[in-house]
């Protein structure tokens, strides 16, 4: 089998973005995932977000690990450079790629297996380095591609399709990210396209490490009764805390909501993320408070979603490394060569 190119069919009167591109221009190969897989909905949300932000596809990077979720990098934006790397190691590859050229908006795609078991270390270190990327953790509680074993995000007591209930507590990517230092932390659901698209847009515009933990049910191995990552369970326990909208620099903030509910966070590009708090007590700029709230909702079996934490002030990796604005891969060799005289001079200490 070879991969299928999806024919690009542009409909008459199709809406175009600022670049004159239609949504199909952000699409990729035909998905080979199971019909109904949550990951396909996430892919659709990604297409929409890049399209709405008018990001030129060839100026974006899409990088993934290994798993059904990680396959999806080839199902969007065929005009972008993409990389399907090795299991659990997407963060290091992405960090290296961004170090060579920080000008390219970068989306990393991973699964709960890819991120929370084999890849937990790399994910943690990308967070603490505040690498300027959006990290999508498509979370279904199982290893889809190896046919349904529990992953580290499976909840204690969650039932498998057959066999014994899960015996170990889950690693919650949101609580983990809060403790390790990610600067944009959100949770969403593949079934909530609207929320997901706004979070992806905000995450792409955030300068630093943004993670979205997306509950993305696996219809083949973890969508049955007794599973806590099924569609039905997620719909039932879904709770929204903070809604986030990206407002471009040219747009105005509209104060259509009650005071106290709306909170603008200024971004590096001059735009804003407008936070709409559905829960007046929530302060998404306070790491400690966010952590307490997340723990609290876990106790109540609530699936707390929205932009749960944001800190726009931390320097990203590029800044901590004191790197030039110009990408490394564009610096001409003439500027990198110290020359023969310098070599001779610096050898004085070896004589």
């Amino acid at each position: 089998m070879t991969s299928f190119l999806k024919p690009k069919i542009r409909r008459h009167n199709e809406p175009l973005n600022e670049l004159g591109l239609a949504r199909v221009d952000y699409e990729g190969n035909m998905s080979t995932l199971c019909a109904g897989c949550g990951h396909d909905s996430v892919t659709a949300a990604i297409v929409r977000a890049f399209y709405e932000l008018s990001i030129p596809p060839h100026r974006a990077l899409k990088i993934s690990g290994i798993g059904c979720s990680s396959k999806t990098t080839s199902y969007f934006m065929n005009d972008s450079h993409g990389a399907n790397t090795v299991h659990g190691r997407m963060p290091s590859f992405a960090t290296g790629a961004l170090s060579a050229n920080n000008d390219l908006p970068t989306i990393g795609i991973s699964g709960d297996g890819d991120s929370l078991s084999i890849g937990l270390g790399q994910m943690a270190h990308a967070m603490r380095r505040n690498v300027n990327m959006l990290y999508m953790l498509e979370n279904n509680g199982v290893y889809g591609l190896t046919k349904g074993q529990f992953s580290a995000s499976a909840d204690l007591g969650s039932l498998p399709k057959k066999g014994d209930p899960n015996e170990f507590p889950a690693i919650d990517p949101v609580a983990f990210a809060l403790s390790v230092g990610a600067t944009f932390i959100a949770r969403s659901f593949s079934g909530d396209r609207k929320q997901l698209v706004s979070l992806i847009k905000a995450g792409l515009k955030h300068k630093g490490f943004a993670i979205i933990d997306v509950i993305s049910p696996c219809v083949s191995f973890n969508d049955h009764k007794g599973s806590t990552k099924s569609y039905a369970h997620t719909y039932e326990f879904y709770s929204k805390a903070v809604h986030a909208d990206y407002i471009a620099p040219s747009q105005e903030i509209v104060a259509a909501y009650d005071e106290g509910e709306v909170m603008p966070v200024e971004l590096h590009d001059g735009g804003y993320i407008q936070l709409r708090k559905l829960d007046a007590d929530y302060d998404p700029t306070d790491r400690g408070a966010a952590f307490n709230r997340v723990m609290d909702s876990e106790r109540k079996n609530e699936i707390l979603t929205g932009l749960l934490f944001i800190d726009e002030k931390q320097p990203d990796l590029h800044e901590t490394q004191n790197m030039e604005a110009r990408p490394l891969n564009e610096i001409p060799y003439t500027e990198l060569n110290p020359g023969a005289d310098a070599l001779s001079a610096l050898q004085a200490e070896f004589r």
Partner: protein, 603 residues
């Protein structure tokens, strides 16, 4: 055999690590070098920060031999815990110098050596107050004692001390006072100098004393590497230390103060490999320094980079394995690993430098080869080469050098193309074109470690898969003509014997060859400098009846690689294996070869 004699002897200093003896030993070696006499320094140190035995061996070789001799003629025994061992190692006719503040009559029980007692600590205690300074001064005092015994010029020592403490003038005098303590005591109590001693020569002009890691780090800078990632591991760490140092010095934008490089200390070797592969995919020259255990961890990524054709450079500074082994001792034990690192069918380009000058040169070439052939390249060094100072010709640079970036398509190129296929062999040379992210939509392609065809599309079709892996093999084979060719030292007349070595086995092999020839046992010698083996390698084996393969590991890794990759007959290749963790010495090679050659003559 060699020494001891004028400008031809070995001094070994036994101390305790963490006591600051390294600078004293460096001073001794450097002062001999400054007197124009070729010198070799080997540091044998424990995997420990403080309190365990450590040795430093200085070979004075007026003839310019670069390897170890295998004998010790003067032992400076400063560690009471190793007195017995140190005494036993001393050659007949040798001299043992020790600190007689605590007299040790049992040191006298080798009538064939001379024991010289100098009350170093006692003398230092009388003039120095602070405890830590006393220990440091004692080190300088033994430098003085040795200087008196072998006739090292005190003015040279003084000028080196002046350079070291240029910023702290007070220390110059106090150090010289300590040197004089040892010097004067020995002069007034013993007949000086000894029979073996130094006498100024003119053989170090245009030379430098530099270690391989520093030279390789300079190679990375001059090659235009902009991205380095690493996880600390002895003995590779100093390579990255060097890169950091020289980048800070030479690579910071003058006005903005911003860096034109990026160095990341990774969380482990898995990440270090991923980081450089990501950076290289995006067009930066990227590398990682590591050692055997790191290569093991990086293996999955290495296969990925090989199969997806990403140019990256791995510096493997070998140490004694398996596992943690003896992490501060040397070996050539990753020859097989680096040749075929990773799962599946993988074959790599590997360079085998043998001295720091070549480390500099091969570091640059590694990046050129990686980009030309779009594949990982391994630079195989070891702790002996990486961390010891070697006397080599001063490093030089050709300002006309232009990096070989290989086949990278620009936006203009893409505009002219009908379509772009990442893995298509357009030119028939097995090397496809690559595009960098962000260039142009037409250049976009999807990189995957899973089956892919010439158009970089996913495949599970056998013939499409095979087309790619066959091309990879042909590409690797074609690198034969681009890698550094072997160097042959021919015997004066014809001989049935050949010898092959790589890397740091070269110095001992070269010296052994010279000495054997002088003794009427001519041997031709080929130093192999790269994998894949060039055609000369197979021809060299074919031209000789017996070929000694000299290497520093237990399993004859180079020999087996030669068997696998050439048509050589197994019976022809004779292993000469040294794997104690100490750098190879010429006596070991001579003995092994002589035994075989003499046996033949009798038979």
């Amino acid at each position: 055999m060699s020494g001891p004699g004028l400008n031809d002897f070995v001094i070994k200093i036994g101390t305790v690590n963490g006591t600051g003896s390294a600078s004293a030993n460096g001073l001794l070696m450097k002062s001999i070098f400054r007197m124009g006499i070729p010198v070799v320094g080997k540091n044998v140190f424990p995997s420990n920060i403080q309190g365990l035995p450590t040795w430093y061996e200085i070979r004075v070789s007026g003839d310019g031999h670069a390897g170890r001799s295998g004998e010790v003629h003067m032992m400076v025994a400063m560690n009471q815990a190793t007195y017995d061992q140190d005494l036993a190692e001393l050659a007949t006719g040798g001299v043992l110098l020790y600190d007689s503040t605590w007299p040790r009559p049992q040191l006298e029980n080798r009538p064939d050596v001379t024991v010289i007692g100098v009350p170093l600590m006692k003398m230092c205690n009388e003039v120095v107050k602070a405890a830590r300074s006393r220990i440091l001064m004692k080190n300088m005092a033994y430098v003085g004692a040795v200087a008196a015994l072998v006739d090292i010029d005190l003015a040279v020592i003084r000028s080196l001390i002046e350079e070291t403490f240029a910023a702290k003038a007070k220390l110059i005098d106090s150090n010289m006072v300590a040197v004089k303590l040892g010097y004067d005591y020995v002069k007034s109590h013993y007949d000086c100098p000894l029979r073996f001693r130094v006498a100024a020569l003119d053989k170090t002009k245009g030379k430098v004393m530099i270690d391989g890691n520093t030279a390789a780090s300079l190679g990375c800078v001059y090659a235009g590497a902009t991205f380095g990632a690493w996880y600390p591991i002895t003995p590779s760490t100093s390579l990255m230390d060097g890169f950091v140092k020289y980048c800070k010095k030479l690579r910071v934008h003058e006005e903005s103060g911003k860096n034109k490089f990026c160095i990341i200390q990774a969380e482990d070797e898995l990440a270090a490999a991923g980081l450089i592969i990501g950076a290289a995919w995006n067009g930066a020259r990227a590398f990682t320094p590591t050692s055997g255990p790191g290569i093991s961890l990086m293996s999955e990524w290495i296969g990925f980079a090989y199969y997806t054709e990403i140019p990256v450079v791995f510096f493997d500074i070998q140490r004694t394995g398996p596992s943690t082994g003896m992490p501060t001792r040397t070996q050539q034990c990753d020859i097989q690993t680096t040749a075929y690192a990773s799962h599946g069918d993988t074959k790599h380009i590997v360079l085998y430098p043998s001295d720091p000058n070549e480390c500099f040169d091969f570091a640059v070439r590694s990046f050129d080869l990686a980009e030309r052939f779009q594949t990982p390249v391994f630079f195989l060094s070891d702790i002996d080469l990486g961390m010891n100072d070697w006397m080599v010709d001063e490093l030089t640079w050709d300002d006309n050098y232009v990096p070989d970036r290989g086949k990278v398509v620009t936006k203009d190129d893409l505009d002219k193309m009908e379509s772009f296929s990442r893995y298509l062999d357009v030119d028939g040379d097995h090397i496809p074109y690559r595009s960098l992210p962000g260039t142009d939509p037409k250049g976009a392609y999807f990189l995957r470690g899973s089956g892919h065809n010439a158009h970089a599309r996913y495949t599970e079709l056998g013939h499409e898969y095979q087309e790619i892996v066959d091309r990879l093999l042909a590409k690797w084979e074609s690198a034969k003509t681009a890698v550094p060719a072997p160097i042959v030292q021919k015997a004066a007349g014809s001989t049935r014997y050949g010898m092959i070595a790589i890397g740091t086995s070269d110095a001992a092999a070269t010296e052994a060859r010279t000495r054997l020839e002088a003794d009427g046992m001519p041997v031709d010698y080929m130093r192999v400098r790269a994998f894949p083996f060039t055609d000369e390698v197979e021809a060299f084996i074919a031209d000789h009846e017996e070929v000694f393969v000299v290497e520093q590991n237990r399993d004859a890794q180079l020999l087996n690689l030669l068997l696998t990759e050439t048509n050589a007959a197994r019976e022809k290749l004779i292993p000469v294996l040294h794997y104690s963790g100490e750098p190879l010495n010429y006596r070991f090679v001579c003995d092994a070869l002589m035994k075989r050659i003499k046996l033949r003559k009798i038979a």
